[in-house]
Point group: C2
Chain length 160, copies 2
Amino acid sequence: MNNATPPDAPPPDATPPSVPIETVHEIRDQCLCFAAQRAARRLARRFDRLFQDIDLTNGQFSLMVSLMGKIQPRLGELADFLAMDQATLSAGVKTLERRSLLTLVADDDDGRVRRAVLTSAGRALVAKAVPLWRAEHAKLQAEQPQIDARALALLMAGLG
Amino acid sequence: MNNATPPDAPPPDATPPSVPIETVHEIRDQCLCFAAQRAARRLARRFDRLFQDIDLTNGQFSLMVSLMGKIQPRLGELADFLAMDQATLSAGVKTLERRSLLTLVADDDDGRVRRAVLTSAGRALVAKAVPLWRAEHAKLQAEQPQIDARALALLMAGLG
DNA sequence: ATGGGTTAATTTGATATCAATATAGAATGA
DNA sequence: TCATTCTATATTGATATCAAATTAACCCAT
């Protein structure tokens, strides 16, 4: 008869398996995912407010800046560059398309492919946003003089 | 009569004020907001998949780990700690409350205040998640051996 | 005490995020 | 040719995110 709970096992309704407080602190102090989410939220709020007057979000700014060069990326390529799910990008470009800040042009060779292209209005809006970005980013650097933005950005680019 | 556009100004419908390609590259390579959003998305996806089998997101994990200590923070304090808007947290705890992973208890002294407290089921789920986190984070560190997770997490904690 | 300002939390409306699924076009091979 | 498979994008449903507005409770000065 060994069906019963052994005498030295915890009773069925005992305190759940506990996590040592040291482990909790380890996660709090070292988890790169947690740290990245927090930093991303703070910075997103900050730049969303910065661009509020010109009706842009930080993500829309980044997306549109990515389109300022000569190449017209496929949506999939753009999603990869932004480290974004293609579904997320699909929704994002739709919003900008609705505002006529970019257009989605069908590819000549492949009927499945769509390429994102800024309109003149889109380029003009980026041109308006860039000085705001430059001033805010300088302020950010001034607040954390020990940080080398280029080095930290590169580090984060290799993360995940 | 100086109302007309001066002869050397660009015509009204000219190419919009262009942003030099160097500036575009500067933003791409140095913008801490952009870099943080990208890293946050990659890491969020990674840890969301890790916790998928136990039906947790990375954010729910971080939130619940924050409640593993003895203190029972107000929602506002918790939002600050997570660098999250209060409204976001309000929605987040509601989801966890619906699943009986935490409860919101009214404060004794102040009728406005609610404090988040993990249930036994909540603590048990965190206990199940922690080994997954530990293994995945070790893998992450192995992929980027040059990164000191604690130092980078600290750096990001001061960001924004 | 009570009216006015402050604070804690919630609600609302818009966008963001991703997994899963669907659709449509392309490429391959029998 | 045409069926299978693969690929690019879109759609759906759930959660996440924040600003703005709202509700409720507190505090304080009169």
